[in-house]
Amino acid sequence: MDTLQTFQKIETAAKANTAKLRVIETMAVGEAIRQGDLYIERVAKLPPMKTLIKAKTHQLAIGTTQGSRHIVDANSQVEIFNLVKNENPLAGPLVSAKESWLLTHPQHGHFRIPAGFYRTAYQRDYARERAEEIRRVND
């Protein structure tokens, strides 16, 4: 398949996409979902509480752009934490949910996620000329 045909195929499939709510009934430890550039992985437990600080926002990605508005619905019973010392620019907040919770986004489909502990991570923005640098993608 040549370049133009490949582009056509990708774009045709993209146009058929819909941003509908996806309800995840079960999610095993180690499994993950992706919403835009944000990944949410279920983990067995959170790191020790002394290494965490309670987040002041329900937004799981820093920023003011529309793309960064991965927000836990206000009605969801969750606690969100940040690592006190986070040296990994791709590591996001941690979520503790006693019941299923709703992750929203103005462009991407929402997710209903089961209760449990979760870690979040961002997609990497890579470029050959700064290959050593770990930088989060700007959605």
Partner: protein, 449 residues
């Protein structure tokens, strides 16, 4: 001429600015300053010992300071305060200018330098250019009688610089209202000096050596007007040697300010306080005869990591129209952001800076770029939006451009957007590319949107 005549600011054995110039502050520098003061009065080759003999300084406790949890909790407050100072925009108020002038006079006095002429410039560029020329003219005057053939300038930026230079070389006192006439804001890139060299050169060309003041050089030929101008241009290039970052060095100031106010180290901070007070203003150029202080910019934008950033225009703009462009800390010419429609494939190929080239590619459109160069398809596949279902499909391709860069091209599963994400050139499949970008094995991802 520069080699045999007067020295440019950074050539002098005793640079004019060196006495008064405050370099990047640090604890070590503070200690050295005290030691130097002492060695001025007594020949002591061990400044550390001399420091202990200064009776005006309180004794330094030998106990090392340790960061306590209470002090650590205050770090964010100090961080944020000094980030605000470095990101400050808008003109200095008259009160602020007056306190900066008082602080600078104090700094000169602290090193026994005479009171300088202090002027405010609308931008660091205007300050640097004017400081370089003025320093050169003052140096030339030690050797030659220099006459001025004033020129008329229509370019507002040149008018501003010329005005500053003339105020200094004619020893104009500080005006009652030190604000300069603000020039029209022009959409122009000042990242490069190119394009304005002629203006600066015209200002330099006004100064002509007409008579040697040095008996030993009286028999030598006077420098030609061209040589004088060339020398002054050399001084402009070296003006950075007189530079102090002002509020743009807030990172250093934050550090010492924290130790002063929170750790309360038993030191004499009286001179430091002057330095701190002067850091409200922008970068300054400190010469023994004058000090040119830049106003803060009118516009200053940054990304979420506080890196200089504006994707569509200047991230930093001063009142004289000087402006800088940066995308996530990559400095680039303004036309790439303001006239992206003029970017061509040839222009992208000929750009030698890889980061700028990448931004040009993005502005050109990754899709258009990959199509136009006829990128090679390395791998093509599709994955379901929800594992184990046929609910939706994400079609992806791994493509390689004419420079061997590889890109994962695909949609997100919920919008009609197509993404182009560079990956390591060794990657051979779409799945590997996604794993490279996400850090997750695709087998673990059960749903995407």
């Amino acid at each position: 001429m520069a080699k045999k005549g007067p020295k440019t600011p950074n050539q002098k054995k005793k640079p004019s600015a060196s006495k008064a110039k405050s370099k990047k502050p640090s604890a070590a520098k503070t200690k050295k300053t005290r030691a130097t003061k002492k060695s001025d009065t007594k020949s002591d080759k061990k400044p550390a010992k001399a420091t202990k003999k200064v009776t005006t300084q309180p004794p330094i406790k030998t106990k090392l300071y340790k960061l306590t949890p209470e002090h650590e909790a205050l770090l964010p407050e100090y961080r944020d305060r000094w980030i605000r100072n470095s990101m400050r925009t808008g003109h200095l108020t008259l009160d602020e200018k007056n306190s900066v002038v008082t602080a600078l006079k104090g700094l000169y006095q602290a090193v026994d330098a005479k009171e300088p002429i202090i002027l405010f410039a609308p931008s660091p560029f205007a300050a640097a250019f004017a400081a370089g020329i003025a320093a050169g003219v003052l140096e030339m005057r030690k050797y030659y009688q220099v006459t001025i053939a004033p020129k008329e300038f229509t370019n507002s930026f040149a008018v501003t610089i010329n005005d500053l230079v003339m105020r200094i070389v004619n020893k104009t006192p500080i005006p009652a209202r030190p604000e300069l006439v603000l020039s029209t804001v022009k959409k122009e890139s000042w990242f490069h000096l190119e394009g304005k060299v002629d203006d600066i050169k015209s200002i330099a060309e006004q100064f002509v050596a007409t008579q040697s003041l040095d008996p030993q050089k009286a028999s030598e030929a006077l420098p030609t007007p061209g040589e004088c101008a060339e020398y002054l241009m050399e001084c402009v290039k070296n003006a950075q040697s007189m530079n102090n970052g002002g509020n743009t060095w807030s990172g250093w100031i934050a550090y010492i300010n924290f130790f002063k106010e929170v750790a309360k180290l038993p030191l004499d901070y009286s001179r430091w306080n002057l330095y701190e007070a002067a850091a409200v203003a922008g970068p300054r150029y400190m010469h023994e005869e004058f000090c040119l202080v830049s106003e803060p910019p009118l516009v200053l934008t940054a990304d979420d990591q506080n890196l200089p950033h504006n994707d569509t225009g200047p991230f930093c703009r001063w009142s004289d129209g000087s402006q800088l462009y940066s995308v996530h800390n990559v400095r680039l010419p303004g036309w790439i952001l303001e006239q992206p429609e003029t970017i061509t494939l040839e222009g992208i190929r000929s750009e030698t800076n890889a980061e700028i080239k990448r931004i040009m590619r993005e502005k050109y459109g990754e899709s258009r770029y990959l199509r136009d160069i006829g990128a090679k398809v390395i791998d093509l596949d599709s994955v379901p939006t929800v594992a184990g279902t046929t609910e939706g499909e994400i079609v992806r391709a791994l493509m390689e451009d004419d420079e061997g860069r590889r890109f994962l091209v695909g949609s997100d599963g919920s919008t009609d957007r197509t993404y182009y994400m560079e990956v390591d050139a060794k990657i051979a499949t779409c799945a590997e590319a996604h794993q490279f970008l996400s850090g997750f094995s695709e087998a673990k991802i059960i749903a995407q949107s």
